[in-house]
């Protein structure tokens, strides 16, 4: 059941994040990651009625995160990995970008603490305009990895 073409990936991503915002739905996905399962199987671990579970399944299905298997009787649900992968990838790109900034901040904080400790025997504390006294952080060379993905 290929339905990825129905909307741009931006629209689908909205649905993906909305679907993932609920802990029951995330638990359902975790269960389906181990293999397909019927609605009854899926309802079992939750203190929830089947209609309530079906509602969650509908949201997941609309987001393209799950699909239905062929068995007409059981209608087992199965995980569709692609939209999940996309959503995770976007978060990962964002994460890498910020991690590169934060690693520079780590280095700066480290420098500030060691120089403050050495120069004044103080643990911390920087006053505006006093950074001249400190050794500059090498801002031309990001210290660790870049955010290249």
């Amino acid at each position: 059941m290929e339905q990825y073409g129905y909307a741009g990936s931006g629209v689908r991503l909205d649905a993906t994040f909305a679907a993932l915002a609920d802990s029951t739905r995330r638990a359902i996905l975790a269960r389906l990651a181990k293999g397909e399962a019927s609605v009854t199987d899926l309802a079992e671990p939750f203190a929830m009625s089947q209609p309530a579970i079906s509602k969650h399944l509908k949201v997941l299905e609309r987001a393209g995160l799950i699909s239905r298997g062929r068995d007409a009787q059981r209608r087992p649900r199965r995980l569709e990995a692609r939209p999940l992968r996309e959503a995770t990838q976007w978060l990962e790109n964002y994460r890498q970008f910020w991690e590169a900034q934060f690693q520079r901040l780590d280095a700066l904080l480290h420098d500030l603490q060691t120089s403050a400790g050495k120069k004044r025997g103080r643990r911390a504390g920087v006053k505006a305009g006093s950074s001249r006294a400190r050794r500059p952080v090498r801002n031309d060379k990001p210290l660790l990895m870049t955010s290249d993905s």
Binding site: W90, Y94, A124, N139
Partner: protein, 168 residues
């Protein structure tokens, strides 16, 4: 990876991105690193090869700030700014943010909360966008650096393609 603390990013609710990160430093210092121009210019540089020539901060509720980044190899610039709504040193900053060439509509509201424990500081940064579409667009291209970066990479890539075409 010295000093690299726990780091988490989530898409929260419909319109938020929440970033948490632990720094091995007291919170006063982290607050300074976020609010003093001479310190911000040393770390908030964007991707490799970019610098932050402009960083102006009027740190008070109602005060403005302005950042400009520059790609040092091609001179491309990117600016953003906003207005502080709350400043509670050294624990909380709320500010609006708008990029000069915003690729998303409206302004976002950025809330930074710093908590300290055993000499370590946890940063929780919540960025609230005006719609879910906007939030997801930002995740797709982080802070527009993402776009600028991919252009840069394209520029690096193109000459080598040219050479191959010539030698072929």
């Amino acid at each position: 990876m010295k000093n690299s603390g726990p780091f988490n990013i989530t898409a929260h609710g419909d319109r938020e991105i929440v970033v948490t990160r632990v720094f091995d430093a007291p919170r006063r210092l982290v607050f300074d690193a976020y609010t003093q121009p001479e310190l911000l210019k040393k770390w908030l540089l964007g991707p490799d090869g970019w610098s932050m020539p402009v960083c102006e901060i009027d740190l008070r509720a109602g005060g403005k700030y302005r950042y400009v980044w520059r790609n040092d190899s091609n001179g491309r610039e990117m600016g953003m700014g906003g207005v502080y709504r709350e400043v509670v040193a050294p624990e909380r900053i709320v500010a609006t943010e708008v990029f000069d060439e915003a690729w998303y509509p409206g302004e976002a509201v950025d809330t930074i909360v710093l908590t300290e424990r055993d000499g370590k500081t946890t940063l929780t940064q919540t960025i609230l966008y005006n719609s879910r579409e906007t939030r997801d667009a930002v995740l797709k291209s982080p802070m527009q650096y993402g776009m600028a970066m991919s252009y840069d990479r394209l520029e690096k890539f193109l000459p080598s393609v040219g050479r191959e075409a010539i030698s072929a």
